[in-house]
Amino acid sequence: MTILDDISSAVQRGKRKEVAPLVQQALDEGLDPVAILNDGLVPAMSVIGEKFSAGEAFVPEMLVAARAMAAGTEVLKPRLAEAGAEPLGKAVIGTVRGDMHDIGKNLVRMMIESKGFEVTDLGVDVAPEQFVTFLQEHEDTDIVCCSALLTTTMPEIGATIRAIEEAGLRDRVKVMIGGAPVTQAFADEVGADAYTVDAGAAAVRAVELVRG
């Protein structure tokens, strides 16, 4: 077992108190911080994401793993900045207007972050104009993620996409959507770039979208 294997194992088991010292140890041993991120922390979350998509891992296991990864990333941050490492991409996420559900949205945020994205979370009950304002103020945003958990709030996803179009920003960003009642057919209807069934798949798709 290498130290990267140890880091990966600790993240997968959600042992945040183990991860930070292991990451520090890896740095002390002279490992490249980018390698620790890309070969230790990120693959661990990919494993959890795949297990979640397969129904073999559960929400709390994803949460503790994501927190463990965050503990490791916190140790790495100053060294990554020194190395000039850039995030894989930038995303903004929120649950649409009128919808207060947040657990699925939070899982997607964590999983996308775990792939190396910088994610801004606008929270729940986010109006289309809030997404637009954010995009106007953050021109380097790559992906907009929005979700709805109710059939009655689902149309707000379409309203959000239309608002982004009307603001002349649609060509600049990719739009990913999700939520329990959302389907691929609905995504096609409202003109989203991607729909995924769960948080693990969302993270994989986000990477594909920014890598083209």
């Binding site: 009128g98 939070n106 059939t151 009655t152 009642p181």
Partner: protein
């Protein structure tokens, strides 16, 4: 002689020939007790606290109240300090007279009196802490979490006994959503360790009080259905078709009755046609009624009234037709 709604649903529950198949809830009169009333809040989009101190919002035009828990307003911010942070609501000051009068007025030859017991152990745990913190606590601090769940269960048992004394309900509708549309929230072994023993105690109290135990969970429960039957749940209400219902019926062999089967969100769009709604109702009846002890219905209310009304209207007609054409021998 025609069966009363109550007799018809008892026939399905007991595996006898009914006059029609339909939602068990058609035969109940739901009692809005003082605890339920104190936890209700206006549809004003503003923050209100329920009796446990959980901040909730009931959005204008929304589907119902929803907890809005932040690190600043969470009741329990550290599970190891739950005893200091949580005040269990008192049951001593409740006025049951209104609910008791309504229960006494129900013609029980026609209908069941149903007591609605909202927010079970699991839901209350995340209402107190927020979902993320609670879910992590289940894995990281299981002993402290179990202690808090035990305190919640003790409250629930006291409350059920109070309701039994005042209302003499025939049925309890005990709400605890244990999962999502994708899976259980907790890993099954964690659910078995943390929820099942306490839920078994609650089920014992429910049965000691002479009630039929209807458990509402409109989510995936497939991994734990045998456990649910073992606990003593008489009817699982909220069986969404994302569960493999046919497999569940085979595994259970009739040990627990089921209510649900209709894919509500799939037929709850403004553009959904009447034909699509009726096709889904018929699919549900045709597919799941043959196994017996099955009450077809929407696991949760559809949010668009015309769609909801058509589901019920068509189910009443098709459920009766199906019963006539498929007699239990």
């Amino acid at each position: 002689m025609e069966m009363t709604p109550r007799e018809n649903m008892m026939a399905i529950l007991e595996g006898r020939q009914p006059e029609y198949y339909g939602d068990f809830q058609w035969a109940v009169k739901l009692m809005m007790d003082p605890v339920w009333k104190s936890d209700s809040m206006p549809k004003d989009g503003l923050e209100h606290k329920d009796s446990w101190g959980t901040v909730c919002v009931n959005p204008v035009g929304g589907a119902g109240k929803h907890p809005v828990i932040t690190p600043e307003n969470a009741v329990v911010t550290d599970i190891e300090k739950w005893r200091e942070q949580l005040v269990i609501p008192s049951l001593d000051d409740k006025d049951w007279s209104d609910a008791a009068a309504k229960a006494a007025a129900v013609d029980r030859s026609q209908y069941f009196v149903e007591y609605f017991c909202a927010q079970g152990l699991f839901e209350r745990s995340h209402f107190l802490m927020g979902m993320e913190e609670a879910f992590c606590a289940y894995l990281e601090e299981p002993e402290a979490m179990y202690e808090m769940l035990t305190a919640i269960a003790d409250y629930k048992k006291r409350l059920i006994k109070e309701a039994a004394f005042h209302l003499k309900p025939d049925v309890i509708f005990f709400q605890d959503d244990w999962g999502s549309k994708q899976n259980l929230f907790l890993p099954p072994d964690v659910w078995r360790e943390m929820i099942k023993p306490l839920q078994t105690e609650i089920a014992q109290v429910i049965h000691e009080c002479g009630m039929i135990y209807v458990h509402h969970a409109d989510c995936i429960c497939e991994p734990i259905v045998e456990d649910m039957a073992e606990i003593g749940i008489d009817i699982w209400q909220g069986v969404i078709p994302q569960n493999d219902i046919l497999s569940i019926q085979e595994r259970l062999g009739g040990r627990m009755a089921l209510i649900g089967g209709i894919d509500g969100p799939a037929i709850d769009d403004v553009d959904t046609t009447d034909a699509e709604i009726m096709a889904e109702v018929h699919r549900c009846v045709d597919t799941y009624c043959p196994a017996g002890r099955f009450f077809p219905g929407a696991p949760a209310h559809l949010l668009r009234d015309p769609n909801e009304h058509l589901v019920e209207a068509d189910l009443r007609v098709y459920g009766a037709q199906w019963a006539r054409e498929h007699p239990i021998r």
